[in-house]
Subunit: 330 residues, 2 copies
C-alpha cells in the first residue's frame, strides 16, 4: 500500500529508507556523457535477477513521460524533485509503489523504500534485500576507509538516509514546533517539509532524517532517528491531549469547520487545502470527525497537487477542480 | 405566516405598518400613574368587538412574562425593544403573529401589521381595519390641525410608520450600501438594522421607513416608500447580477463555504451566524445553494438570538447551542 492510502497511522505517516550507490569504474552521472549503458546494466541487474523481488519492478524511462506525469511521481515521493530536470534518467517502481529505484539521479542508484507508518527496521531490511539483488550483478564503488562512494560527500559512507514523515498539527497549533525542530537539528537530524529539502511544511507534515551518513553504523543511524521520533510522538500526543482538555470547544469547532469548508468549497488553493486536510486527518485520528469517505485526507493532499489536477490549467481553474475533487472524495 | 418563515421573498423580507394612537382625555403612558384602566378599555375594545378580526387576538400582560420570553417577542418583532423595560405594559397578538397591538409603549396604542414580502398596501389596509375596530369603542386624541396626537411629536399627524425590511447582501458586498443609505436618508427615509433604531444591520438586513409622519397624507407616505424601495430592489438585483457575472467562482465559493461552516461548526457567535445565514439566504434565493432544510435562514437568525438559546447561559454555552441548532435545522 502506498504511504498516503493508510489513514490509521496516528502521527507517523510514513517511513522512508534511501540508499545511494554507484558503480565502480563509471563516472558519476553529472560527468557521464552517455547514461544508457549504465542504466541498462542496472535495469537488467534488477529485472533479470533470479529473485522474485526483482520481477516486481517496472522500468520507466522518464524521457518518455510528460511533465505532468513526472511531477505526479514526485508528489507521490516515487522520484525526487531532481529527477524532474535533465535527460537520460529513469526509475524502477514496484507494483504497490513501496519501492523505487532512481537511476542517474545524483548517484547511479538511489534505492528507496517507503512504508506506511513507523517502520524503520522493516524498511531498512527490505532496502538491504533489494541492495543485495542489485549487487549480485554489479560492483559498487566502495572504499575500505570511506565506505560507499557518492557524487556528493554528504551521502558517502553508509549512503543511508532514513527519514520519517510526521503529522504534527498539535505541536504546530500550540507553537511548539519551532522548539522541536531546533532540538532535532542540534543532534544531527534534518527537518524538511512534505516535498524534501527547502519545501515548506504544508499540511503540518514534517520529514525527520539523519543529516550525516558517515562515521556511524547503519544501526546507529536508525536507532538515533527512532529515538528522537519517539520523543516527538510523545510531545505531539501531549499537545493533542492538552488541546482536547483545555480548549475542547474551540478545538472541536475548528476541526469541524475545516471539514465543512472542504465538503462545500467551490474553489480552494493547494496551500489552504493542505492546511484544512491536516485538520481533518487530526480530527479523524482523534475520533472527532467522521471516518474518511472515498479517499484519505493524505490522498486528497497528494492527488490535488497541481500536476494531478492539471498543470496546464490556470490557477483559478485548478482551484475549482481541486475543490470539486475534495468535495467528492473526502 | 410570520415574516421569517417565508424563504421565497427575494430581497424584500417583510413589510411593517405601525399606527400610533392615543385615547382622548388620558395622559400619555409616561405621565399615566395607573395604566390598568386604560389597558383594559383598549383590550376590551378589541377582544369584545363584534368583528371577527378582534376575536383572533390573545392578550398578554408583559409583567407576567420572563425576561427571555419578552426578548423572544422582541426578536420576532412582535414588541418593540422599549416594551422590555418598565411595568404595566401589555400586547395583543393574533394567532399567525402578523398583527400585534402594543399597549402603553410610548403611546397608548401601537398597532402593528407585519406581512411577509413586499406588501405595503395590503398591510396598510389591514392596519386600517384593526384601527376601525378599536375606534368603535374608544375616542382617539385627534386634532383637526395636527392630526393624531402622540407622546413624541415626530409620530404625530398620521401616526403612520411604514417600514420595509430588505435583504441587501450584494449591495453590502460590493460596498454600495453606504451610498444607498445616504440617498434614502436625504429624501426622508430612515434606515435601521434588523432590530430598529440604533441597531447594526446584522445579516445584511436593513429596515427602510418614513422619517416624517406629518405634512403628508398616508397615501403619499406609502407611495414615497414604495418608490425608493423599488429603486433599491433594482440596485440589489443589478449588484447580484454583477457578482454572478464578474466574480462567479469566488462568489459561488463564498456562499458554499458559509453553508458548509453552518452545517459543521460546533461553536458560533450570533453576529457570525447572522452573516453566514445571510449568505445562505442569498444563495438559496439565487438557486445556487440547496433549498432550506427544516428552517429558513431567517428563522435560524431569529431563533438563535440569545433569548431563544438561553440568556442565562454563558456566551460559550450559547455559541455551542446556537451552532447545534443551526446544524440540525439549516
Amino acid at each position: 500500500m502506498i504511504w498516503y492510502e493508510n489513514n490509521n497511522n496516528d502521527i507517523v505517516v510514513s517511513t522512508r529508507i534511501r540508499l545511494a550507490r554507484n558503480l565502480e569504474g563509471v563516472p558519476f552521472p553529472n560527468a557521464l556523457r552517455d547514461t544508457q549503458q549504465t542504466t541498462e546494466k542496472i535495469r537488467d541487474a534488477i529485472l533479470k535477477s533470479n529473485s522474485t523481488l526483482g520481477k516486481d519492478f517496472e522500468f520507466i524511462n522518464l524521457d518518455k513521460l510528460s511533465d505532468d506525469q513526472k511531477h505526479s511521481l514526485s508528489e507521490e515521493h516515487l522520484i525526487s524533485p531532481q529527477m524532474l530536470e535533465g535527460k537520460g534518467k529513469s526509475v524502477l517502481i514496484n507494483k504497490d509503489k513501496t519501492m523505487s529505484i532512481m537511476l542517474m539521479e545524483e548517484d547511479h542508484i538511489r534505492l528507496q523504500i517507503i512504508k506506511s507508518g513507523f517502520a524503520v527496521d522493516e524498511a531498512y531490511e527490505t532496502a538491504n534485500r533489494v541492495d543485495d539483488v542489485i549487487e549480485e550483478s554489479v560492483t559498487y564503488a566502495f572504499d575500505e576507509e570511506f565506505g560507499y562512494l557518492t557524487a556528493c560527500p554528504t551521502n558517502a559512507g553508509t549512503g543511508l538516509r532514513a527519514s520519517v514523515m510526521l503529522h504534527l498539527p498539535a505541536l504546530t497549533m500550540t507553537d511548539n514546533i519551532g522548539r522541536v525542530i531546533t532540538s532535532a537539528t542540534n543532534i544531527g537530524i534534518a527537518v524538511r517539509g512534505l516535498y524534501g529539502e527547502g519545501t515548506k511544511a504544508y499540511g503540518n507534515l514534517y520529514q525527520f532524517s539523519n543529516q550525516t551518513t558517515m562515521g556511524l553504523s547503519e544501526q546507529e543511524i536508525l536507532e538515533r532517528l527512532k529515538k528522537i521520533v519517539n520523543q516527538i510522538i510523545d510531545m505531539e500526543k501531549k499537545a493533542r491531549k492538552n488541546l482536547l482538555e483545555q480548549n475542547n470547544d474551540s478545538f472541536t469547532d475548528k476541526l469541524f469547520r475545516s471539514y465543512g469548508i472542504l465538503k462545500y468549497a467551490h474553489s480552494i488553493s493547494s496551500a489552504e487545502a493542505k492546511s484544512l486536510l491536516s485538520d481533518v486527518l487530526l480530527g479523524q485520528n482523534l475520533g472527532i470527525l467522521p471516518k474518511p469517505g472515498v479517499l484519505t485526507p493524505l490522498e486528497c493532499m497528494v492527488k490535488t497537487a497541481p500536476s494531478f489536477i492539471g498543470a496546464n490549467l490556470t490557477t483559478g481553474e485548478r482551484d475549482k477542480k481541486r475543490a470539486e475533487f475534495i468535495r467528492k472524495n473526502i
